[in-house]
Amino acid sequence: MKGLILWLAGGSIISMILWCLLGILLGAGAYTVYYGEGLSYLSSDPKACVNCHIMREQYDEWQKASHHAAASCVDCHLPHDPLGKWIAKAENGFWHSKGFTLQDFHEPIRIHNKNATILQANCVRCHQDFVHQITTIKPSESNTVHCVHCHNHVGHGPSR
């Protein structure tokens, strides 16, 4: 029996200990992902966005805002091409996790330029028939007038 275990572990005590540690690490990691509802972030469900409490206010506001019935979080905040969507999800997911674990982000939270550009593109995506004459500039160019500059309540309701 002992021989069998040693053989499975590659023949030495040290490698057996390493295998055990790896198992513990993988197990704890997998459980953390499960406990932190890690897989929910692969969905488009707005509820996933309030897992970590930071977005509670934004979520509450969105429920009272005019776009509630028309768009969920990801409709406005993620690109709609298959590759860009997952890149943005991964990138934002990393920064969100880091920020909330280390508690080192600016409050009230602010959208970064990259995400503001995504947001602007999504306004145009739905409303382009209506606004094509005023959106002749690319959303990434900093001198663009962003829709939410004036229509700042459509996604998250009034600011108070």
């Binding site: 704890a28 953390t32 406990y35 409490h53 600016h106 009230p108």
Partner: protein, 450 residues
Amino acid sequence: MLLWQNIAERKQEALQNVFKVVEVTEDTIDPAIWGKNYPRQYDSYSRTVDVERTRHGGSEAFQKLDDDPRWRILFKGYAFGVDYREERGHAYMLKDQEETERVKNFKQPGACLHCHASVLTAYQQTGVKAGIPNDAAHRQQAIMKGFEEVCAMPYAEANKLVSHPVSCVDCHDPATMALRVTRPGFINGMQVLAQSSDPLPHLPSVERWRKGSRKTPYDPNLEASRQEMRSMACAQCHVEYYFKGEKKLLTYPWHKGLKADQIEEYYDEVGWKDWVHADSGAPVLKAQHPEFELWSQGIHARSGVSCADCHMPYKREGAIKVSDHHIRSPMLNISRACQTCHHYPEQEILSRVNAIQDRTKNLMLRAENATVDLIKALNEAGKQGKNDEQLKAVRALHRKAQWRLDFIAAENSTGFHAPQESARLLGEAIDFARQGQIKLLEVNKPTGKP
């Protein structure tokens, strides 16, 4: 493992943010006991011991009379001419009052404690001594009676009844933690204000009450929304007041409305003066920190923004959202206080506030100079032997100018709470003071033949 622990901690916080370990009642005055149940709020409340200077104010007790000696002249003949220090944070409100020369060297009534101490239990017990039954049903009645009794006491005697500065129980219901108002002076003040015809669009519950049957007096605890309460809790004390009659009954002069002119009109009607100015002989008024009154004239009030929104903004501790009880200048906390609504960099917001306050300050200095000039001119005319009859109209102008100047100077926002209203009042102060000087030229004109 650490990450898992971190997530677990946040989840627990989200489930339960109050853990009751002690019972608090109406008579639990000591905030430290409440702090056992609400450690986060208590921690930030305890931070009001900080000493911070802002551009025009803050919580460092510098002597304003040395900072700007004009005020020694403006307050001549009154206790404020002896000692006028910047107030420190909430934690010091009782201590500062016990220490000021205005209380040590002048006779002050117990009325002062209404706002400088956690005084409800003292009022209730004094009310019981005066014959109100000692039970829960008569509690409010006993408090109101005790308030009248304590107002009339000498300060030193009343001071023995209290032990803490304003604390949790003064704004929170111990059973539900709901915001409430408890100060008799404010409750009375709101009743007369509701009956006035001053438009109050920023206090919708008063407007609703006015349209109703008016059978029972307006009561904030029954009528006001939570958002209104987030201002009214502060308005219990951050207001203009006077001590009415022999009994020194603390009274908020809102019978005609909240504006400086309406308050002045009321004072003129009841014939009130705080003191007779030692140099000018005018029956002048002293304005006392009329923050609620000035804020009521401003754009933030009009937009439905409460005191707490800027002075006690929400903050997050882990997964828990708490009101920051470290009450202070929003300029020391710009991100949370302003950026929730104003999406500009902190430096930009600060610059905008500085622009408003610097303009107010410069106008205030002009109003100070103008009023001091009038005081000196009146003093000179008195020395020349001009009589009361001849000087009466000019002294009335001194009263008007000084009231408007002091209304903005004593108010703790250097104009920010309502910039245009502040400029209007200071402009009028300058005008009245200079009008007085012109009138004096008339009085001083040599009569008859040389």
